[in-house]
Symmetry: C3
Subunit: 332 residues, 3 copies
């Protein structure tokens, strides 16, 4: 398999995702998707949000379709979210957890994809640790197959980005009035990248990427955002604070990355630190959380937390995306 240069080819990727009429055929990245399409997806998803305690939203719009969840990286929550999204739309869902080592021993990823395509799988949800895999697949599937990126190395996790956008819109309204701070290991975070790209497209007022300098992104990568290393500076008057999961194996492993206690003291989001944020600010986290490391446990469970709302929105967003690419198939 040929890994592609994602940042250099990203406009290309954005185009790869769309049919000739501009409708969504695949979902690889939020980068390059235009504002109207993002808003339509959020509006679609809103229809699938149901009140906590109410019956889950359902439809039969994917009846007769087959969705395969092809996870080359382990996942519980994203896989479960896509699984439920597919089932609640009436699709047949095929779950394939294939670890990378067995893929290396066995056939190439394209042979796996072509096998599923021959079995008339309509939509393949792919998670892979290697950058460029979803776009590589997209270039080699038939006209009637859609690929959804469920997590790609450090670079893209578009349905996570959409659920973050939906949650912010529900809680905070107009993007142009908002200051959003994303805090943590920005450098290695596909969650941060997808959220940042979407927020930029939707015209967020101000976007801050807050991290220890050694975990900051390349300043040229997201020129629309400011890079900040002091947490209090980053949180000041912020309306939305997104804490990222820090991988424990990174902590203390590099010069400039503090040990656990020190990490929490310097970059952990807590009720106390949130006092410098704007009144009514919300806190978000993509999960799974390391409580007491990147986020204070009490804050995660407080009314300021939008974390379970994010999870609920995740199913809704995935239903919206599944339905939209399926509708585009019917048209072609």
């Amino acid at each position: 398999m040929q890994a592609i240069e994602v940042f250099s080819s990203s406009n290309n990727e954005a185009n790869l995702q769309l049919n000739a009429d501009g409708s969504l055929r695949h979902l690889l990245t939020l980068k390059g998707l235009d504002r109207s399409l993002l808003v339509e997806l959020l509006d679609d998803a809103e229809r699938f949000v149901s009140p906590s305690g109410g019956a889950a939203a359902r439809s039969r719009s994917l009846a007769g379709r087959t969705v395969a969840n092809l996870f080359f990286e382990p996942s519980t929550r994203t896989r479960a979210s896509f699984d439920l999204a597919g089932k609640r739309l009436g699709a047949d869902v095929l779950n394939l957890d294939v670890n990378t080592s067995s893929r290396k021993k066995g056939e190439s990823i394209l042979d796996t994809i072509h096998t599923l395509q021959a079995m008339q799988v309509d939509i393949m949800v792919v998670r892979d640790a290697s950058v460029g895999v979803p776009a590589h697949i997209v270039r080699h599937v038939n006209d009637h197959v859609s690929i959804l990126n469920a997590g790609e190395g450090d670079v893209s996790h578009p349905t996570q980005g959409l659920l973050d956008l939906l949650t912010i819109r529900q809680r905070k309204g107009k993007f142009e009035d908002l200051t959003v701070a994303i805090v943590g290991d920005i450098m290695h975070s596909r969650v941060a990248r997808s959220a940042a790209q979407g927020l930029n497209t939707l015209g967020v007022g101000e976007l801050r990427l807050v991290s220890p300098p050694v975990l900051a992104p390349d300043p040229d990568e997201m020129p629309f955002a400011s890079i900040i290393d002091n947490l209090d500076d980053g949180l000041r008057d912020a309306d939305v604070v997104m804490a990222l999961r820090i991988q424990r194996e990174r902590i203390g492993s590099l010069d400039g990355i503090p040990a656990i206690d020190e990490y929490f003291a310097k970059y952990g989001i807590s009720t106390e630190r949130m006092q410098s944020a704007a009144p009514g600010a919300i806190v978000m986290h993509p999960g799974p959380m390391n409580r007491g490391i990147e986020i204070e446990s009490a804050l995660a469970d407080s009314p300021a937390s939008a974390i379970t709302q994010q999870v609920a929105n995740g199913v809704a967003v995935r239903m919206a995306v599944l339905e939209r690419v399926s509708r585009a198939m019917d048209a072609y």
Copy 2:
């Protein structure tokens, strides 16, 4: 996570399971459930028993509901039984096999539960090696979620208990006329505990717990039962003999636990040993069996064996429990 003292908190647990009107909201333990509720559950289950070779009983009473099987301990048969029970009631079933080590690395069990709750999972079927986990979860879920205990450490396996009760009722009728002997590693057996609790509530004539002394329970734990170490004494005139699975790693490992051959000679249930039981006595086993260790292979396959009937009843009992907690949700 805080482990709770189960035996001291058990009345509390019984109360945790019920709605204000006394209907079943969760199923954590048979201890403390009253006789009328147990009988209703067995009557419900009876409706889902179909004759061997006939079509499986089905309904649509859980259509639109989502059941998640969350197994932190490996299981094939209990997971399959709940999976089929859910599907045959029309539910969407989400299977999550999460081993404990990955749970320790990742998020807390409550975060996993809250994630599933946010995805609008209605019923979570939980198996865990740690005592107190199901009750701990119950204390932290929303009003509209039900928790079913599918095996909890050494202390509780209520759907197994119900299927044992149903099987005994089908084969032997009135509990008050019966002598039941449970044989094997009583000390470590959640199966023995749940069966004993249910049999006690239903007024079994006599209950005997038969084991090597070193595997006997604390005499204060189940004062309604007699503790016996001689197998012939234990089986004498018994109407029902329940053999427990012995974990091979325990055999010969402790002072007082015999090696395999000796175990079978002293505590293995065989056609010959069953001659001291009552005429028409039945033999039961929760599976999977170690043939030739705790039970003679020929006996397990004889007409006296109710073992496959137990399995069939397992699906029926789980359908009954799923339907009952689901009905209670509708009412609230």
Copy 3:
């Protein structure tokens, strides 16, 4: 478990598969199935083939039935194919991946089967590395259960054989006019055996088994085929060339088995080597492919390749088999 001598008992196995009226009750092997039954299965399967890009064929003929996929050997594609086949017929599908080591630790395979039977599983799809397991199971299940062999050691893979036959019939028409060459590790290939048995029954013009001498079958096993060790001799004027997967761990491990480069040079199927085949010859492979070892990558993707057609036919053939054994259940 008692392993049986498969080749000595094969007529017996063929009979085991049929009901008294000659209808298909189990599918263990193609050996001994008569021509009319094979043709009926291929005709049935043809109805489930849908054009690439069209909606997958579906029916509700297995609604209310339960299919369990019981794979004691790992598999992605065969398991996925049976999973989709069952779901597209409306069955409830239970997937159980049980590795052999856990089976050895736990209960016997028959206890597992009897457990599933008691749960009213109607059809069990079994893959196992040990020869004789499916027939052993068949001898011990109730009248209302069907067993489908999804891969049995080196000896049988009947649904793979059927999909190969269907693909050849679609691409090449009448079997009696055809020369078919199967190339690779014939000795260890259940795919080769099932294809050869089916081709023989359908009256193939000429069948050649091409391999390094050390991987050739016993000459008495398939007396209807010629055994050839020179690839060019094997391919000369062949209409159909089936490349087999070579297990990498075998390459270079035995006297007479060449190393990878040498294997491709001597036994790899390539565009160049195919020039000695008949005009319009097709190439097939059961997957997963080792590109560049047993088959040239470009050839696998060329119009001469029927490989993805084989995969598509796999789902259709499995739907046909599931429907046929299910229909026989209804009649009994």
